[in-house]
């Protein structure tokens, strides 16, 4: 360690402040729309269930928050063997 580093060394408080500011900016954003993902999940599930029988576990809905935009990812797996029960009824 350079001898000058001893004098230059600052406390850890600035690091704490920076980490907190970043984290809380993210947490506050997701707090404003707390259940958006689960609401979307339920509604998407309801729409699909009208036509195809899908297990809850095969539907993945997630939201990634970026700097200016957010990405909504919906991944639905439909088993090939499952017939369309509703369509068959008509």
């Amino acid at each position: 360690m350079n001898l000058l580093d001893i004098f230059k060394r600052r406390g850890s408080a600035p690091v704490a402040r920076e980490r907190l500011q970043l984290l809380l900016a993210y947490e506050r954003r997701s707090r404003n729309q707390p259940d958006l993902v689960s609401v979307l999940r339920e509604e998407i599930m309801a729409v699909i269930a009208r036509h195809v029988q899908v297990d809850q576990d095969f539907l993945q809905v997630s939201m990634d928050h970026g700097e200016t935009t957010s990405r909504l990812e919906i991944d639905i797996q439909i088993p090939n063997k499952v017939a369309m029960p509703m369509a068959a009824a008509f």
Binding site: R10, G11, S12, A13, P14, A16, R17, R19, L20, Q21, L23, L24, E27, R28, R31
Partner: protein
Amino acid sequence: MGKVVVVTSGKGGVGKTTSTAALGAAVAKTGKRVALVDFDVGLRNLDLIMGAERRVVFDIVNVIQGTAKLSQALIRDKRLETLFLLPASQTRDKDALTEEGVADVIDKLRSVFDYVFCDSPAGIERGAQLAMRFADEAVIVTNPEVSSVRDSDRIIGLLDSRTMKAEQGESIAKHVLVTRYDAARAARGEMLSIDDVLEILSTPLLGIIPESQDVLRASNVGAPVTLSENTNPAARAYIDAARRLEGEDLPVILPFERRGLLDRLLGRRAA
């Protein structure tokens, strides 16, 4: 109509109960009628901090369930005749509190007392939400440390969305009370500064309570620090915070490190 103040924090161990007792006693000493309500059902401690642990007969759950009258459950402080305690139940679980029951108790207290301080349990679950539900004002107890500040931010979010006032479109008055402030560590840049905390939480400051042995001593003997050690810096800081809570415009003075020459030479910290 009295004012209902919730003392909350999210994080445990930051000094909610100590601060409830100290602020309540400081306000009661000015002649105002004050009730302290412990919402920490199952883990009550306000009775112990107030030195009333052997006088508890009935508690808030008894009152809500109708097995005791409010006047029977309220314990009058032995030192101040305007200070009362409504203890939490130690044997029930936290689901024993109902929203209607709490509303009724708070309403009755509000009509008799000038101030009702609600000591919230830690966390963000039912007990904490009921403690803040009917509050007019909130004291958010925060240590200058990352996890405490993060949890305070979360609690501020709940105060702005889950309280009766927030739901009616009004806003609840919020104040940050920084406790366990260590002037020496702050000076060395090892602890979040008061400005950092206030900037991050964007909430006005009620007071800064310096880290002090006297606070521990006060809880050891079961007396609020504002009554038992009222000349020491922590007690004075609580008394000033209580005056600000009552609306007085007092400047907040940053605690400074008090060290003698010998301490400085030996690099010792002040107690």
